[in-house]
């Protein structure tokens, strides 16, 4: 049995999803000779630390009842620096202005010899190459499948399964909120404002929807793709962004009559990064509805490969994180 010690920094929907999936997969992991021990969990109010392994069920219950996992006031970054463990699961909220606290957490993790698995887009959109170099210089893994496409394994597909291929272009739908809004507007012939309200009531859209509907979230994900797949050193400013807030139900109806659907498409092609509403032929693999995400990768050898799946959700995102954790477990020497 190989024991790997993990900290979960950030205990919101994704952090709790990771904790839950570690509990539910305990038997599966044991059969593979893997013992994942969570030695530290932190949220914005404090933390729980137990170097012999935290009782995850109790921690989840306390979070539910008290709104925080905190037993002590030590911060996430102190767990990273001072508690001996192997992998930091960095799942604090995305901050696109300066990347904090995720950026500091990741720097400290690499600085103190720990692998990083994350769903946090901010630090990757702002300082991708620095973080990647820091990981490489210290012989550590930096895994971020959950940052783009939720459960959809875009980076694993490209870097592992399609190894040897040259990626010529990528286009995809990477924001479930926009996809839900456009699908509903088209199916129900409802105006944008009404569908947005409905999406907010259902929890698919934030109270302030700007980040999603103006294409910012999609653009950030596209930047991470550009940096990871095309080594572009791109930032948000390099993306030409148009949102969906000006789209009318009539436009969708006209598209529909001519066998098209309108989707907010992210596109990395010929060194250009674009997020814009696009006409997608109805039978095209990109024409997925509801909150689904999809990515289509054009390669020189394999041709076009398209994958779609759930782009958000606590357990779905945890799936990508668990897969990254297991990648490290299987590939690290320690």
């Amino acid at each position: 049995m190989r024991t790997f010690r993990i900290s979960i920094i950030g205990f919101g929907a994704v952090g709790q999803g990771v904790a839950r999936s570690i509990v539910s997969k305990q038997e599966y992991l044991k059969k593979q000779g893997i013992d994942l021990q969570v030695v530290g969990i932190s949220d914005s109010k404090g933390c729980e630390i137990n170097e012999k392994g935290i009782d995850i069920e109790t921690a989840l219950l306390r979070k539910k009842q008290k709104g925080s996992v905190a037993l002590g006031s030590i911060k996430g970054v102190d767990i990273i620096r001072n508690i001996e463990h192997d992998i930091v699961v960095e799942v604090t909220p995305t901050n696109i202005n300066n990347g904090e606290p995720g950026l500091g957490n990741m720097r400290n993790a690499f600085g103190s010899g720990k692998h990083v698995v994350t769903s946090n887009k901010g630090p990757l959109a702002l300082h991708f190459s620095e973080l990647k170099e820091m990981a490489e210089d210290n012989g550590l893994f930096f895994r971020y499948e959950a940052t783009v496409g939720g459960a959809v394994p875009i980076f694993n597909l490209i870097h592992e399964s399609l190894a040897g291929n040259t990626v010529l272009g990528i286009e995809g739908i990477l924001n479930g909120t926009c996809n839900y809004i456009l699908t509903r507007m088209s199916d129900e012939r409802m105006p944008y404002e009404l569908v947005l309200k409905e999406a907010q009531e259902l929890g698919f859209a934030e109270a302030d929807p700007t980040y999603d509907v103006e294409g910012i979230d999609s653009a950030i994900k596209l930047v991470i793709i550009a940096n990871s797949v095309f080594s572009q050193a791109a930032t948000y400013k390099d993306v030409n962004v148009t949102g969906i807030n000006k789209i009318t139900p009539e436009a969708l109806e006209l598209a529909n009559k001519n066998d098209y659907v309108v989707k907010l498409v992210c596109e990395a092609l010929d060194g250009k990064l674009t997020v814009a509403p696009r006409l997608v032929p109805k039978r095209h693999p990109l024409a997925v509805g509801g909150t689904l995400n999809v990515a289509s990768i054009l390669t020189d050898l394999a041709g076009r490969i398209t994958i779609s799946g759930k782009g958000a959700g606590s357990i779905e995102t945890a799936s990508s994180i668990l897969s990254d954790i297991l990648f490290i477990v299987r590939n690290s020497k320690s």
Partner: protein, 170 residues
């Protein structure tokens, strides 16, 4: 643009190269050549049918060059408006002079707006329209799209184009 041409060659060696090389010199892309050596014309020449893509601006020069080198150009047929694209425009389409928008494409000579549907839900609401633009070739279609983007930008219209990678292949 795509051009199909029937040439008549003299029945002596080296004539086919003489006919084809000017096309590549003018950066034409030869798509097919039908050379029927046993089917002579009453004039004793050999007919060759060629289909190629070429910039419309150099076509006349090409014909001149062929004739000068002794190749008879018996027929020139242009396959017009072969490439097509659909776009959607959203905004104050009518009040920003729809005629002018269409004219910007039609006046190019190599592209035309061949279909248009318009939806105007109310006087104070934004309109939506679906346009089909045809052009003589893919390159010209790209130029027409550039023009349309520029017009949309100036008139504050949202232009929705088809996905790009579709045309790249696969």
């Amino acid at each position: 643009m795509i051009v199909s041409m029937t040439l008549e060659l003299n029945d002596i060696p080296g004539q086919l190269v003489l006919a084809l090389s000017p096309i590549s010199e003018f950066h034409g892309n030869i798509m097919s050549v039908i050379h029927q050596h046993d089917e002579k014309t009453p004039r004793g020449t050999i007919p060759v049918q060629i289909r190629f893509e070429i910039d419309h601006q150099v076509l006349n020069k090409l014909i001149e060059r062929l004739e000068k080198s002794g190749v008879k150009v018996a027929r020139v047929g242009e396959e017009r408006l072969r490439a097509t694209v659909s776009v959607i425009l959203i905004g104050h389409i009518v009040h920003s002079d729809m005629g002018d928008t269409i004219d910007k494409i039609d006046s190019t000579g190599f592209a035309e707006v061949v279909d248009m549907s318009l939806s105007m839900p109310g006087i104070d609401k934004t309109s939506s329209s679906y346009l089909v633009i045809n052009a003589v070739g893919e390159k010209e279609l790209g130029t027409a799209l550039d023009i349309m983007r520029d017009v949309a930008n100036k008139k504050d219209l949202l232009m929705i184009e088809p996905i790009h990678m579709n045309s790249v292949g696969a």
